[in-house]
Each structure stands twice: as C-alpha cells, then as structure tokens.
Amino acid sequence: MKNPLMVMAAVCLLTALPHGAAAQGAATAGAPAPPGSENSEAQAGQEARQAADLDLDQLAGMDVKVTSASKEEERLFEAPAAIFVLTGEDIRRGGFSTLPEALRMVPGLYVAQTNSHLWQISARGFSDLDNNKMLVLVDGRSEYSPELGIVYWDVLDMPLENIERVEVIRGPGGTLWGENAVNGVINIITKSAAQMQGMLVSTSASEETGYTTTVRYGSQIGQNLTYSVFGRASYWEPFESTFGGKGPDEFLLPQAGLRLDWTASSRDTVSLESGGYDGRQGSTSFASNIPASYLVKGGDVQVRWKHTISDRSSIETLAYCDWYTRFGAPGEKRNSCDLELQHSYQITPRQSLISGGSFFSTGDNLSPDPAAYLPERRRTSVIAGFAQYEIKIIPDRLRILGGAKLEHNDYTGFEYQPQGRLVWTPNKLNAFWTSISRAIRVPSRNDSDLDLFTPIGVANGEPEFQVVTGNPNLRSEHILASEVGYRVQPSAALSFDLSLYYNRYDSLIIFSPSVVQVLPTSVLIASQFVNGPEAQTHGAELSAKWRPVRHWALSGAITETRGSATAMLATPLHLFNIQSRVDLPHKTEFDSALYHYSALALAPNAANPSLPLQSVPTFNRIDVGVGWHLGSQWTVSLWGRNLQSGHHVETRDDTIGDAAEEVPRSLAFEILWRFKPEPGASQ
C-alpha cells in the first residue's frame, strides 16, 4: 500500500529539460527561435506563410507549440498520447489558491482533498493517499518520494503566478520519463526569469481554508542575465473533523526561491533554480490518533544547460540535488542528486532521434518515521539510458515513434520500458493515434525494508504481536498499456479530444494474508509485502473546448474508469466537469465551474477486515468567481468555492495515512499587484 521510488527522478529530469527550454524560448533574451526543433527549415517557412494568411483574431487564438508527449516540439493536436496542457491563465481563472486544487480542471485527473493540505491525485485508477503510480516533475526535478513512492503535495504549494504551464500525460511515460511514470506524468513548468520581471505581490485570504501571500521581484544584470526571487508563506486552516471539532491538520509553510537565466552565447543557455521551505504540519494520523505538530523542511538546487550544436542537433544537461526532512507518518530524511544528458538529433527532415542517459543517487535516514526499517539508512542509485526514434512515413500524415529505456536500479536490477506510438492525421482537423507501452514501478523503500513489530494485545495469556515486514526480493510492478485516441476540430471554435485505454498490471505489490505463528512465549500475526495479483483497468476520457462567442469560453471533460477491485478501491466510476469563462466589459471576468465526483462504495479493507473502508457520497462541487482588472497593475477577485454544501468529505480514511476531514464551503478574496519598471532604469 505504500511505495517508492527513486528512479524516476533520474528519468524525469530528462524531460524537464526540453520543457524548460521551450518555456524559456519564449522569453529568454536574445535566444534564437527554438533551435533543434523537429521542424525543418522548409516546414517552418511553410508555417510562417500560413501564419501570414491568418487574421488578427486567428493569430490571437493560436497556441504556441509545446513539447511533451514525444519530448520534442510537436503540435499538441498531433501528439500520440493523452496529453493536456493547463496554462498559467487557466490556473488564474480557475480561482484556486493551490496547485493540487487547480489540477481539478485537468481532464482525466481525479483530485480528492483529504484534509487542509493533503490530496490524492490519480489518473486511470489506483487512487489512494499513497498512490505510487503517478510521476510529478517540477522543471524536470522529480517530486516522487522513494520511501513510499508518493508525492508530497503539501509542499508543492508553489506560487501559482510562477507557473508557466502544467503538462499532464495520462498513461505510461516510462520510455521518456523512467520508472514510476506508470499511470501518468504531471509536468510542472515554471516561468523563466524574463517572464517574472518587475514586482508582484499576491495574496489570497479565506477564513475557512486559509491564507497565502507571495512577493516576487525580477530584474536583469547586464544584457544576458535575468533573475527572479520570491517568498511565499501559506497558512492552511484546520478542517472540521468527522468526529466533530477542528482537526489538527493546520499547516504553515514559509518558502523562498530563486531563478536565474543566463544567455551565455547564441548557442548556450543556462538556468539555475533553487528553493527551500521550512514548515510545520498538524497531522491526524489514523494509526496514532494523537494530534501533533511535525516539521517539514527541504531545499533544492538545479542547473540546466542547453547547448545548440547545429540547426539539427542540440544537447541538454540537467543536474540537481535536493534534500528534505519530514517528521510524522510518513517521515524521512533524504538527500538525492541527479545528472541527466539528452541529445536531440534531426537525422533527415523526416527522421529524428532523441537519446540520453542519467544517473540518480538517493540516500535516506528513516528514523523520523514511526515505523521501523531495516536498514534504517540506505543509499541507492539508478543508472539509465534511453533512445527514441521518430519517422514521418508520410510527411504531415503518418508518423511513428518507437523507443525504449533500459535501466539498472538497486532494488530489482535491470528493467526495460519500451513504447511504440503512431499518429495519423488525414488532415489538419482530425488526428487518430494509438500506442502500446510498458512501464514499471520499482518497489519502494517501504516495500523492500519495512520492519514493523507492534504489540496488539494478549491472546491465551501470551503477548500478541503484529509483524509486518518488507521484502527485498520483490519484483517491479509492471503495466502494459494500450491506448487509442481521436481529436477533431469541427470548427475553429470547437474541439474534442477522446482517449480510450486498456491497462494490464502484473506483479502488483500487496500485503500477503496474515499467518499466525504461535511461539513459546508469544503469538505473531505476520504478513509481508509480496508480488500479488494481476489487475486491469479500462476507461474513456473525453474533453471538449468550445468558444460560442468571442467573450465566452467553455471547457469540460468526462472521465469513466472501470477495472479490478484493487484498482478501483478509491476511484470514482464517473467524473465530470465543466468550466465557463466570461469576459465582461470594463475588464471584468465572471468564471464558474461544476465538478462532479461519483460515490465511493463501502469496501472491504484487506489490511484490516474489521475496519471496512467507509463510503463517500456523490458530490457536485460548484465554484463561482468574479475578477476585476483595475488599471494595468491591480487585479482583485472574489471566489465562492464548494458552494453546493456547508461541508463534505472527499476521501475515505486510509488505514495508514491521515484521517479524512470535511472540506468546507469557503469564500476567498484575492488581490494581485504587479509593477514592471522601465527596462534600462537599472542600468
């Protein structure tokens, strides 16, 4: 139930590289048009000629190309994967104060809030507070904890104003991103320093959910160096406990960060990012029931260097280290470092090859966790190499990608993760794609090394102990995913995106059934992590965007998930959302949204049969907000969130994680002030 990972980190980075670079391309001083892109000169020219034939409205509605599904620039429309991009503007107009909440808008993602600062975020099943099948990257830096294989969403409370975009890929991304990108990859790309020039102060206040304030400043030094620094402090109010009264889940997180972008030459750009946080969280551990205040503290530093060798070839390097300490359950002290290289090469106008390698090392000390581990300290590493080849069989019509990643990790040895993808675009209005891919989840430190020995009472006069141990001989979980997708644009104002998938999981890591061992002086109820059953999930995700008139945009998504009981334990069958964005006169915006989550039924609890997993009723979340731009410097907005009911529970208690609390209806007031001084004034 808990898991792991480390590997991902390594892999992930690779990814980030191209992203960051693309984001920067938009704003880095003096950078030439994104080099090394797969576009040949001829294609670029053709596109530019098309651009000149567009009118102003069409140009204003045109999206800038992004890079994700195939790690190279490509039209989102023609991407052979289930990909969605949430832009900074989408996030602003969604009216949320934190990143995990904003992910509710992403088609196919299931976001459920457990308490004031914990979320369960999943795609395609396996939702759990300890969901170990999603990979999250911030500018290429992995946010996956190898102790349990989960993501600490509470410390991903980054300033929303710093987010350039979030690229979400449902389905495996193991070939490009590496291990643990099993059910999806969430790729958070922050703005370049050039996009964060000037002064910004933003604050959001809600009596019911909490307060957050960000202060940011950016400037430049000389012609080729831009930088930006920020500080942010958030305080999240404790929610109502289902047992009555306030829960102990208050959360205080002060943090600061720095970004520096340097155009070293016309062929080289270097970015430095660093940040740190030092917070306190309250926790409602179901296991102990004792409220406590725990330290959460961490930092990171990363450097990214992109070098353009020629029009057809470029190389990117990413290096980072991060470290953090968390008390509570889970608790850990950890430091990790990662180095990645990626080379993109356009062999001919129709063929390209991306290849790379990475080395990741992570060391921990699990003494802060209430559970015992053997060994208590451990350092592990992952070394990996990958290559992906792409060929346009019929230019502008039919494209095939194939690749694989080979790695070695200290838990399971050698692993491979191949994929093949095909996209057919009979014309610019229709795109069909299909893919087959294999990805793995490596056992977590918890899966491998847990060593729990808990007195639980007295039986027949003998002391009774529950013994739960990890298993160093576990194999990786693996998934074989088959996907098909279709995108269509019936008119310039309307588009649809449909994907269907069938995932087969093998060797899922579960607890073995308990075995009672009667010893001369005690009774042991023992269980162990083992590679268990197979499972499957299948489902459909449909999203649409429609702009009926120029000042009104609608977007929405339907997500249907089905599968084996293990995969569906905490995953709703139906999700539905629709968002409306209206631009009114006088720079006023009126935005609203409905999010539907179907019920979770009462379910047996494998780990503790006497405590079945509680049901969660269906709920429909309604948010309504109004925003005003006052001059060019001020934006004020008022949001009503969860207007449908006074309070509701979104997740059920997890046997090990935190107890679920009641999400309240809330009113939030937000103010944003930004000021950009004259360039040159600093000279």
Partner: protein, 179 residues
C-alpha cells in the same frame, strides 16, 4: 448541381490551412504573422513614402529571432496599400536608419536599449514593436507578449498618436490597450 459539389469539396480541402489557426504554431511564425498583419491594420501618414513603388520597410533590430520565418511570411505579399515589403536587419540601433523604417521590431537582445530607441523615433511615423513586454507600457507602440500558450499584443495608443499612425479599430479590439 455537380459544380456545387465540387465547390464544397474544394472548400473542405482548403479548410485545414486556415483551421490550423485553432491548432498550434511555432512562436515566431505567429509573431511573423502579426508583423505582416500590422502592415495592413495600421495607416502611415501621407508623405511617408516617396513614390508609389517605394517599399514598405520592416526593420529587425538586434539578433533576428525569426530564423527566416518573417521573410517566408511576407514573400510575395504586399502592404495594405499594395507596396512591396522588405526586411532590413540592424545589429545595433541607429537613429537615422531606424527613422527610415515603417516598422521596427526590437529583438529581446535590445531590451537594454529600449529607452534610447523609443526616444530616437518617438516623433517619427515608425511603428515600434518589441518582442518583450512591457515595451508598450513604457513608450513603445506595441509588444508581443506570451500569455499562457498564446501570443498577445499590447498597444500604446498615445505612442501611436504621437507617431501619427492610425490604428484600425480591429487591431485595437484584438490588442490590450495599456493606457
């Protein structure tokens, strides 16, 4: 009737080109598209051009970020009043050379010299447009700004008036007016 069917087919097969509008394009293709459109939606004062065949000059100041896309975009096209279009490139801003441009595109590499460039041409009919914000807010006429995944235009009407340039209502509608 048959003829009608053929026309529809012709339309359908032509749609993709314009439909790619709602899809995606390279950032600098979009920006090149904007520059070309500016030449049509802005009116330069009488006497700007010496002769009917005098070309309409678009100058790129600083490092050229277009990688040939601007030349491709305007190839074979003409300005609003049917003049041939011409692209000139300057490594460094030079006041007298700039005043001979109808449109001056400031590359990000020239960010540091913004104030001097704006000052040099502020009373001349030169449509200044920069590849970075907040150029329009600080005295330039327009800038192309990345907003989420879109490229948006900021427009400073005071600066345009001072340069005696008439901006069409259509362009004002699409742009964000910064003053």
């Amino acid at each position: 009737m048959k003829r009608g069917i053929h026309l529809i087919l012709a339309l359908v097969s032509m749609l993709p080109a314009s439909r790619s509008a709602s899809a995606q394009m390279d950032e600098y293709s979009i920006k090149a598209g904007y520059l070309y459109n500016f030449s049509k939606y802005v009116q330069w004062p009488e006497g700007t051009f010496l002769a009917p065949e005098t070309p309409f000059v678009i100058c790129i100041v600083g490092e050229d970020p277009f990688g040939g896309r601007l030349d491709q975009a305007i190839a074979g096209k003409t300005s609003g009043d049917a003049r041939p279009l011409e692209v000139r490139r300057f490594k460094k801003a030079d006041a007298s050379a700039l005043r001979a441009c109808q449109m001056a595109f400031l590359s990000k590499s020239e960010m540091q010299h913004t104030a001097a460039i704006v000052d040099a041409v502020k009373n001349f009919p030169v449509f200044t447009v920069a590849d970075f914000a907040p150029f329009a807010e600080i005295g330039g006429i327009a800038d192309l700004r990345i907003d989420g995944t879109k490229v948006k235009v900021d427009l400073n009407m005071n600066a345009a008036n001072r340069a005696k340039l008439k901006i069409s209502g259509k362009l004002q509608q699409v742009a964000s007016l910064v003053n």
